[in-house]
């Protein structure tokens, strides 16, 4: 089966500072894939390159059969409609309320009736675990966890095939974080999503990830399922998973 994302021999640098030195990884359909590593290792940069927010120097990234280096504007728009992105801080539009934040893409890209749009928004609000009356609140009136949930609802609104999550559980209390993990798992099963996430949260790494890549020192030091990754030796892996092994 062809992978949904394929990264080959990727090099990135910011001015003098080299960030990636030859990354290779692939992500299969229906998989929850984690990008892990110490702070500043370039995992967020890699995700930003995947969603076309950042440029890379050489190598290639293929997403859903589009090559990001050779993509034209029309294909780029089509691709952007196929994925949902959840930013670390939510990045909700502050002048729109939750309902409008979620419905804005539908209003822009489809000709659906207001009735159906309201139904779709209500459904997404429901599955991420928000209350219907929260729909009328503005981002400044939401707590951190609610912001994340609203942002997830917004990322899911177009029924994307691919979901990018940047530290989805950071800033959440432990109970909300576990609920979030469950939510992500059930979404994957329900909607057949493929999910790429950057995470530091050990519990959610154990509970949700199918496969992962550990990026350290500009390279991928380990890749595969949790047990495969644990076997490989790297200072980061040893310290990162140590608490769990004891």
């Amino acid at each position: 089966m062809k992978p949904i994302i394929n990264v080959k021999d990727l090099y990135t640098s910011f001015e003098e500072n080299q960030v990636h030195q030859g990354l290779n990884l692939h992500i299969n359909k229906g998989e929850i894939y984690g990008l892990l590593g110490p702070s500043g290792c370039g995992k967020s940069t890699l995700m930003r390159e995947m969603v076309m927010l950042e440029q890379y120097d050489s190598g290639s990234i293929d997403i859903l059969e589009y090559n990001l280096a050779r993509i034209n504007a029309k294909e780029a728009l089509a691709l952007r409609k196929e994925w949902g992105v959840l930013f670390q801080s939510g990045a909700l539009y502050s002048s729109l309320n939750v309902f409008q934040n979620i419905s804005v893409v539908l209003e822009e890209y489809t000709n659906l009736s207001p009735m159906l749009i309201a139904e779709i928004v209500a459904y997404k609000i429901n599955i991420v675990g928000l209350k219907q009356e929260d729909a009328l609140l503005y981002p400044s009136q939401l707590s951190g966890g609610m912001k994340k949930k609203a942002a997830l609802a917004r990322a899911l609104v177009m029924d994307p095939k691919l979901l990018f999550l940047d530290e989805p559980t950071s800033g959440l209390d432990p109970i909300s974080a576990r609920d979030f993990d469950q939510l992500i798992l059930s979404l994957r099963d329900m909607l057949g999503l493929s999910i790429v996430m950057v995470s530091h949260d050990l519990r959610s790494i154990y509970d949700t990830l199918d496969r992962m890549a550990i990026i350290d020192n500009k390279k991928i030091v380990a890749q595969g399922s949790l047990s495969q990754v644990k076997e490989s030796s790297s200072p980061f892996i040893e310290t990162f998973f140590k608490g769990e092994n004891e």
């Binding site: 002048s95 609000i125 503005y138």
Partner: protein, 378 residues
């Protein structure tokens, strides 16, 4: 991509008392709108007893499509028409069942509440009254901060004041010089045409001297500074409020008035007369250039006439207005910055308002001075 190929098609067949809809192809969000309008048309026109929606050979199906089917089904049922939905493929019928189960019971659609004319007036008046109140509160805090500021020399943040002087005044010299020089040229050129007719060439000096020193240089300087620094203050402090930097400062015991507000206002008040002095020079220089080209008044003649015809009081009055204008511009800019609410739009609104209100306040103040000085006999 498969989703984008072969959009869903809908076929309606009527048999006895039962309507059957066949949907096939890619039945998902991107291709949903035509099917939706067809189904809704069917919903409003149908008068059979039962209807079957059968979905076969789907190439795509998603939650939006499932929700549409659910809405349509409910619509039929509310009209006492039995509606049955058959989904052939197992994976899609599973999705449909899940959506049906986890669907929200209520849908909340934000409706724009209609306000009556009277309510609008009331709300506007109340919000204006609030604004006046909060401006008084701001002035109060500002005065209080100023009083505690000057009680002790140690309190005064010389470094910040000097920094702001450079930012909002020294760096504005270029644009102020250019603007007032051009204004000098324009005024001199326009009046030279009229003065030539009467042969009163030399009076260009009186005219220019008084109008530039007394009114134009202070006003133009104030307008440039309001557009340049007033808006910068509003945006800067507005963003600091949005990112909770102001709150962080308060929790550390750094009073924002002492650290942010007063240095800016004091810097502007000190620098404004200097800027006006500079503007005076450039404006008169513009006049000299035009006078020597258009009216054959040599620069030395101009200067000689200038010292005898233009009273020094005009110069002093011009400078005297500076600190007042500076206070208005700085205070309004910062006040608008502090008024920024929790969304990005309000930064834009408040920045715009800061410039408009500052210029308005400066002109009001100028008019007031004009009346006062004339009545005092200056």
């Amino acid at each position: 991509m498969s989703v984008l190929s072969s959009p869903a098609s809908l076929q309606i067949s009527l048999q006895d008392d039962c309507t059957t809809c066949h949907i096939q192809g890619a039945f998902s969000l991107h291709q949903l709108s035509t099917i939706e309008s067809q189904l809704r048309a069917l919903l409003s026109s149908s008068n059979t007893h039962s209807i079957t929606v059968s979905l076969t050979e789907l190439t795509a199906f998603d939650t939006a499509a499932a929700l549409l089917l659910i809405q349509i089904q409910e619509g039929f049922e509310s009209r006492d028409i039995v509606c049955q939905i058959d989904i052939e493929q197992e994976q899609y019928s599973g999705l449909f069942a899940q959506v049906l189960q986890s669907r929200s019971k209520e849908t909340l659609r934000p409706t724009a509440q209609k306000k009556s004319f009277l309510e609008c007036i009331g709300r506007n008046v109340a919000s204006k009254a609030d604004q006046i109140n909060s401006f008084f509160a701001f002035s109060g805090e500002l005065s209080f901060a100023l009083l505690s500021y000057i009680q002790n020399v140690k309190n005064i943040r010389f470094k910040e004041i000097l920094f702001e002087m450079n930012e909002s005044a020294i760096k504005a010299l270029g644009i102020i010089a250019l603007t007032t020089f051009l204004i000098g040229i324009v005024i001199a050129y326009q009046s030279s045409v009229q003065l030539k007719v009467y042969g009163a060439n030399i009076f260009i000096v009186d005219m220019l001297g008084i109008s530039i020193l007394r009114e134009l240089a202070p006003l133009i300087t104030a307008i440039v500074v309001a557009g340049r620094s007033g808006s910068a203050y509003a945006a800067q402090i507005g963003v600091m409020k949005l990112t909770e930097e102001l709150d962080a400062m308060r929790t550390m015991g750094f009073d924002p008035y002492r650290f942010l507000v007063l240095p800016r206002i004091i810097a502007l008040m000190i620098m404004m007369p200097i800027l006006i002095f500079f503007a005076d020079i450039m404006g008169v220089l513009g006049g000299i250039v035009v006078a020597s080209i258009e009216l054959d008044i040599t620069p030395s003649m101009f200067i000689e006439r200038f010292s005898s015809a233009v009273d020094i009081k005009h110069f002093y009055i011009g400078l005297f207005k500076g600190p007042f204008f500076a206070f208005l511009i700085g205070a309004i800019g910062i006040y608008r910055g502090l008024m920024v609410k929790n969304d990005t739009q309000s930064i834009g609104i408040n920045t715009t308002k800061s410039v408009v209100e500052a210029i308005f306040a400066v002109i009001m103040c100028d008019a007031l001075f004009s009346i006062i000085f004339t009545n005092l006999g200056y």
